[in-house]
C-alpha cells in the first residue's frame, strides 16, 4: 500500500498550520497593532517620551525647567529651585502633574498646534520639537513666599500662599510648604531609586504630603477670612456698613455650647455696626448672620466665588474643590445635614467649610476687582523653537461675584482690618485684608490666614496666605503676606 496520498494530506495539513500562523500574525500586526501599541500596560508608551527633549518652562526670564540628556538619547528633567516652583510646574517622569501635564503635548511636540506648523518636519519624518512655556509666576516673589512659609509654619505642618493679578487672573505666586524637589526623581526617571523616592514621597509623613501642594490642591478651614464672603452675602441681602448687628455672646441653639468671640470688648462687646464687627472679627454676629441666611444660601452664594468647583487653572490642571457643604457623608456612609449649630460655625469658616488658598485669593480678587473674578491661569504663552507663539493666554472672566458698590465697601472694610482692626501689626505694609484663625481640633495647630489685596488704595493683586501653627492669622500669616507683596510690587 502506498503512503504518498497520506503524506500529501499531512503536507497540506502542515501548510495549513503555517497558514494559520500567518493569519494570526496578520491579525495581530495588522488589525490589533494599534490597540496593542496604546495598551495602558505597554511600557513603550512611557519609553518614547524620554527619547526627545521636552521644551523649557520659564518665568520672569528665568529658565525653571529644562531637559538634560542622561544617557544615549534619553532625557531627564532638571528643575531649578524645584521645591519652590513645583506647585506650579509640577513634575514629569513619565507621569506628569500641573503645568507639565497640562501642556505635555506642547512641551513634547506631540500637540497638533506644533505639528500643523511643522507639517514639513512631520512629512520628512522628523518629530516636532517641543514648545517652551512662559509662566505668569513672579520667580522672586515665589521664592520669598517659599522662604516665608517655611519660617512661619510650625514643624511638621503645612502652609500655602497664592497671589493673583486681579485684572487678568494670572497667578504670580503659588507656593507651598512643604514642597518636593522633582530633581529627586525626575532627573533620571527610569532609575529604580527614582521610582522608590516617588513612592516614598507619595506616602508622605503625617499630614505632610509633599506631592500635594498646599496652595492649589489642598483645602483647609478658612476661619474668619471666610467672613469676607459672609459680608459680601450680607451686603447682597441689603445690609450695609452701619447695619447694627448683635455681637453679644452667642449660645448655639442645638447644643447650648457658646460660640465665643476672640475678645469681649470694643465692637464685640454687645452691639456694633456690621463694618466694626467685620473689622474686629466678631464670631457671634457672623454666626447669627449665617443662621439667618441659612446654609443653603451660603452654599449657593459661595458658588459664585468658586466654591464647589474644581477650578480649572489650565487644561487638565485643576485646583482642589473648596466647599460650603449643606450635608456631609461620613466614612461609614451616613449623610449628616448641616444643622443650626453647624451653620453658625460654618459662618465663621469652621465646621465643614473647606477652602484652598487659591479659592480664598479668588474671594479677595472679587473684592479687589470690583466684584468680578478673573479665571486664574498660570501659563502666559508657549513659543515654538522658531520663537513663533503657538499659544497665548487669553484672560477670561470667571464670574461676577458681587456688585461694584459692595466690592468697594468691602475694600474699605478690609483696609479697616489693618488700620483699626485685628491686623494692626501689618500697618505700613501696603496690604489690606482679613485675618482668619481656624481651630482644627484638639492638639492640632490652627490654620492661620491672611486674605486680602494690595496695594491698599488701588488693588491690583489679591492674595491668600495660610500657615499652620499656634496663634492667630494676623501674626502667623499677615507678615508673610506683607513680605510677599512687597516683592511682588517691586
Amino acid at each position: 500500500m502506498n503512503m504518498d496520498k497520506p503524506i500529501r494530506r499531512v503536507a497540506i495539513f502542515a501548510l495549513l498550520l503555517i497558514f494559520g500562523l500567518m493569519a494570526q500574525v496578520n491579525y495581530v500586526q495588522g488589525s490589533q497593532a494599534e490597540d496593542l501599541r496604546t495598551n495602558a500596560s505597554n511600557p513603550r508608551l512611557y519609553s518614547d517620551i524620554f527619547k526627545e527633549p521636552r521644551g523649557q518652562i520659564s518665568a520672569g526670564g528665568e529658565v525653571l525647567v529644562s531637559s538634560k540628556e542622561i544617557d544615549e538619547e534619553e532625557y531627564g528633567r532638571v528643575y531649578k529651585d524645584g521645591a519652590v516652583f513645583s506647585p506650579v510646574t509640577g513634575y514629569f517622569q513619565g507621569g506628569a502633574t500641573q503645568v507639565e501635564r497640562a501642556y505635555s503635548g506642547l512641551l513634547s511636540g506631540d500637540d497638533t498646534r506644533i505639528k500643523n506648523q511643522r507639517w514639513f518636519d512631520t512629512f520628512i519624518g522628523k518629530s516636532a520639537e517641543g514648545a517652551d512655556l512662559e509662566l505668569s509666576i513672579d520667580p522672586k516673589a515665589q521664592r520669598t513666599a517659599y522662604e516665608q512659609l517655611k519660617q512661619a509654619t510650625a514643624p511638621g505642618r503645612r502652609g500655602g500662599a497664592v497671589v493673583m493679578d486681579v485684572e487678568t487672573g494670572a497667578l504670580k505666586v503659588a507656593a507651598s510648604w512643604p514642597s518636593v524637589d522633582p530633581n529627586e526623581f525626575a532627573n533620571d526617571p527610569r532609575a529604580d531609586k527614582s521610582s522608590k523616592r516617588l513612592e516614598q514621597l507619595n506616602k508622605g509623613d503625617g499630614v505632610q504630603k509633599p506631592l500635594i501642594d498646599n496652595a492649589l490642591s489642598q483645602t483647609f478651614p478658612p476661619g474668619s477670612s471666610f467672613k469676607i464672603l459672609m459680608a459680601a452675602l450680607g451686603l447682597q441681602e441689603g445690609m450695609d456698613a452701619s447695619t447694627p448687628v448683635d455681637t453679644s455672646d452667642l449660645v448655639l441653639p442645638e447644643s447650648n455650647i457658646p460660640l465665643p468671640d476672640s475678645h469681649e470688648h470694643g465692637a464685640c462687646g454687645g452691639r456694633a455696626p456690621l463694618r466694626a464687627a467685620f473689622i474686629e472679627s466678631c464670631n457671634s454676629s457672623f454666626g447669627r448672620m449665617a443662621m439667618e441666611l441659612t446654609i443653603q444660601k451660603m452654599h449657593d452664594g459661595g458658588e459664585k466665588f468658586g466654591f464647589g468647583d474644581r477650578v480649572e487653572i489650565e487644561p487638565n490642571f485643576f485646583a482642589a474643590q473648596s466647599a460650603i457643604p449643606v450635608e456631609v457623608t461620613t466614612a461609614d456612609g451616613q449623610t449628616i445635614k448641616t444643622g443650626q449649630d453647624a451653620t453658625a460655625r460654618s459662618g465663621i469658616g469652621q465646621e465643614n467649610v473647606r477652602s484652598t488658598p487659591l479659592q480664598m485669593a479668588m474671594v479677595a480678587a472679587a473684592v479687589a476687582n470690583d466684584g468680578t473674578i478673573m479665571k486664574p491661569y498660570v501659563v502666559e504663552k508657549a513659543l515654538a523653537q522658531d520663537q513663533s507663539e503657538v499659544y497665548g493666554a487669553d484672560p477670561q472672566e470667571y464670574g461676577k461675584a458681587m456688585s461694584e458698590g459692595d466690592a468697594k465697601a468691602l475694600q474699605d472694610w478690609m483696609r479697616g482690618v489693618v488700620t483699626e482692626g485685628t491686623a494692626g501689626n501689618l500697618r505700613g505694609m501696603n496690604i489690606a485684608g482679613k485675618t482668619g484663625t481656624a481651630e482644627q481640633g484638639e492638639g492640632i495647630p490652627n490654620a492661620r490666614w491672611f486674605v486680602g489685596f494690595s496695594p491698599m488704595d488701588d488693588p491690583k493683586y489679591a492674595f491668600a496666605v495660610m500657615t499652620e501653627g499656634a496663634g492667630a492669622g494676623a501674626t502667623g500669616a499677615g507678615p508673610v503676606a506683607g513680605a510677599i507683596m512687597r516683592q511682588v510690587l517691586k
Partner: protein, 528 residues
C-alpha cells in the same frame, strides 16, 4: 495510474543542483550580513565588528557545509541547506542585536560577581551554530555510504530501522533524564533541562524528538498492515482492533507522563501530534486521527481537573484573556481573575512581609491559582510595535520581552522586521517542511517515507506550537523556535534533522544504479 511518488520521480531530472544551492546560500549570507550591518548602522551608525566576527563566521561555516553537501550528497534538494542557513543567520543577527543591548548588564553583573543567565549571548550562539553545522557535516559524512549499508562507520537513515526498539528506548531515556535528581534542572517551571559539567545545559527532548521519529517509523512500518487492514467499519470510519489500540494508548500515557512530571506541555503536544500524524501516514485511516484527537481532549480535560496541574487551566485562561494576568493575576473559583500586581494592597502586604514571590503568596492567601501573562503580553506588544513594516533592525525595543532571544525570538523579529519579515520567515519554514514532504514522497522505501514525513511534520508542528503560542493563536507552551532560538540542543538537533533530510533527498533524487551491461537484458525498472 501510477502513484504520486512515481510521477514525481518520473519527472525528477536527476540533476545536480549545486549551483542553485550555492547561489541560494550566497543569498542567505547576504541577508544575514545585511542584518548584522543594519544592526550596527541603526545603533551606532557604523558597520559593527560583529558583522565580521559573527556574520563572517557563519559564512565560513555555510560554505564548508555547502562543499560537504556538494561532495557527499550532490543530488540533495538544493533548498534545504540555504533555507536553514537563512533562518540561522537571521536568528543570529537578532541575538547579536539583543546581546548588544544587554552586554552592559552582563558587565555590570560580572562586576557584582553575579552570573546573568537571562541574557542574549552572541558568542555562545556562534559556538552552537558551529557545533550544529559541524554535526550537519558529520552526519552527512557518516551517512555517506547509503548504497553500501554494511560499510564501516556508516549509519544511514535506513540502518536505523534495524535498531527501532533500541532507538525507542533511547528516546525514552533521553526524555526521562531531566527527572534524574542531580542531573535534571527546573528552568521557568518546566523540568526539561539536564546539566552536564563542562558543557552546560542540554534539552534532551530536542534529540528525543528525532529518535522518536525513527522509532515510530520503524514500529509503524512493521505494524501498518495489521493496523490499517483489520478492524470494524462504522459508517465512513473503520476502527482498529483493541489490541492494535494498545501501543497508541502506551504513547498517550507516556505523553501524559511527560506533561505531568516535567510540566512540559509543549513536548507532550509535539510527541502526541507526531505520533498521530505518522500513524495516519502509515495506515491512511482517518479513524486514527479521530481517536488521537479524542485522547488529546481526554488528556487536556484530565490535566485541567488535577489540582497539581492547575497551570494547564491557567494557561488556557491566560490564552483567552491575558490582560488581567499582566504582572500577576489570580484565578479564583468562579473564573474571576483578581490582579495581584504591585499596585494592589494585598501584594504590598506580602511584599512588606518579605514573601517570595509576593504575588504568589498573595494569590494563595486569596485562595486562587496564580499566574502571570507579562511575557505573552510583552511579546504581543512587540508585535504591535512592529506593525506591518517593523521598526527596523536595531531600532525597536524587543529586549523588553523576557526571553526575547529564545522562546520569544519570533516576536523580537516581528517588532523589528514587522509583518513583512515574519511572513518571509514563515514561508521559509513552510518551504523547508514542504521540501521535506517532497523528499518523503520521492523516497523509495516505506520506512524512509515515514521517517522523512515524520521529520518534516515534527518541524512544522514545533513551529506551530511555539509561534502559535507567542502570537496567542494557541495557549503558550515553551518550545524552541527551530534554528533561531538561542541555545545548543535545539541548534544541534535541528541541524541533524536537516542532514537527515538532505541525505534522504539525495538518495531519492539520485539516478537509479546503472544496470551492468554485461548482464545482458537485465534492467532495473524501479527499486521499490
Amino acid at each position: 495510474m501510477s502513484s504520486i511518488g512515481d510521477q514525481i520521480r518520473a519527472r525528477l531530472p536527476y540533476q545536480r543542483r549545486n549551483a542553485a544551492s550555492l547561489v541560494l546560500i550566497a543569498f542567505a549570507m547576504v541577508l544575514t550580513l545585511s542584518a548584522f550591518a543594519e544592526v550596527g548602522l541603526a545603533r551606532d551608525g557604523s558597520i559593527p565588528a560583529g558583522m565580521f566576527g559573527y556574520g563572517g563566521g557563519l559564512a565560513v561555516l555555510a560554505v564548508a557545509a555547502y562543499f560537504v553537501q556538494m561532495k557527499f550528497a550532490p543530488y540533495a534538494d538544493p533548498l534545504l541547506l540555504p533555507l536553514a542557513i537563512a533562518l540561522n543567520g537571521i536568528g543570529f543577527a537578532m541575538i547579536y542585536r539583543l546581546d548588544l543591548e544587554t552586554s552592559a548588564d552582563w558587565k555590570q553583573a560580572a562586576l557584582n560577581g553575579k552570573v546573568l543567565t537571562d541574557a542574549a549571548n552572541a558568542q555562545d550562539q556562534l559556538i552552537w551554530t558551529f557545533v550544529g553545522i559541524a554535526l550537519f557535516v558529520a552526519a552527512l559524512l557518516i551517512m555517506r555510504d547509503t548504497d553500501k549499508s554494511d560499510a564501516p562507520l556508516s549509519f544511514t537513515p535506513k540502518t536505523a530501522q534495524r535498531y527501532t526498539y533500541l532507538i525507542g528506548l533511547g528516546a525514552i531515556i533521553m526524555l526521562l533524564l531531566p527527572i534524574v535528581p542531580g542531573l535534571g534542572n527546573t528552568v521557568n517551571g518546566a523540568r526539561v533541562w539536564i546539566q552536564i559539567p563542562g558543557v552546560g545545559g542540554l534539552q534532551p527532548a530536542e534529540f528525543a524528538k528525532l529518535m522518536m521519529v525513527a522509532f515510530f517509523a520503524g514500529y509503524l512500518v512493521n505494524k501498518r498492515q495489521a493496523m490499517s487492514l483489520i478492524g470494524k467499519k462504522v459508517g465512513p470510519f473503520s476502527f482498529p482492533r483493541l489490541r492494535d489500540l494498545g501501543p497508541v494508548l502506551v504513547i498517550w500515557f507516556f505523553c501524559l507522563g511527560v506533561l505531568f512530571v516535567q510540566k512540559d506541555l509543549g513536548t507532550a503536544l509535539l510527541f502526541f501530534g507526531l505520533f498521530v500524524s505518522m500513524l495516519y501516514i502509515a495506515t491512511q485511516r482517518l479513524s486514527w486521527i479521530m481517536i488521537g484527537l479524542g485522547l488529546l481532549a481526554v488528556g487536556v480535560f484530565v490535566a485541567m481537573q488535577l489540582p497539581f496541574m492547575g497551570h494547564v487551566d491557567q494557561r488556557i485562561s491566560i490564552w483567552q484573556n491575558p490582560e488581567p494576568y499582566f504582572d500577576g493575576g489570580c484565578l479564583m473559583e468562579n473564573g474571576k481573575v483578581v490582579p495581584v500586581n504591585p499596585n494592589t494592597e494585598i501584594y504590598q502586604k506580602f511584599e512588606a512581609a518579605g514573601a517570595n514571590p509576593p504575588g504568589l503568596a498573595a494569590c494563595n492567601e486569596l485562595g486562587g491559582a496564580f499566574s502571570d501573562s507579562r511575557q505573552l503580553m510583552m511579546g504581543l506588544f512587540s508585535l504591535g510595535e512592529g506593525g506591518v513594516l517593523g521598526t527596523g533592525l536595531g531600532q525597536g525595543e524587543p529586549w523588553r520581552t523576557p526571553l526575547a532571544f529564545s522562546d520569544f525570538i519570533f516576536t523580537s523579529i516581528g517588532e523589528e522586521l514587522g509583518l513583512t519579515g515574519l511572513m518571509a520567515l514563515l514561508l521559509i519554514y513552510a518551504l523547508i517542511v514542504q521540501r521535506g514532504m517532497k523528499t518523503a514522497v520521492a523516497a523509495r522505501d516505506s520506512y524512509l517515507k515515514l521517517f522523512a514525513g515524520g521529520v518534516s511534520f515534527v518541524l512544522a508542528l514545533q513551529v506551530f506550537v511555539i509561534i502559535g503560542g507567542v502570537t496567542k493563536l494557541i495557549p503558550l507552551t515553551g518550545l524552541t523556535t527551530p534554528f533561531m532560538s538561542q541555545g545548543g540542543s535545539s541548534m544541534m538537533a535541528n541541524w541533524i534533522l536537516i542532514a537527515i533530510l538532505v541525505r534522504m533527498s539525495h538518495d531519492a533524487r539520485k539516478p537509479a544504479p546503472q544496470a551492468i551491461q554485461d548482464e545482458g537484458m537485465t534492467q532495473i525498472v524501479s527499486t521499490r
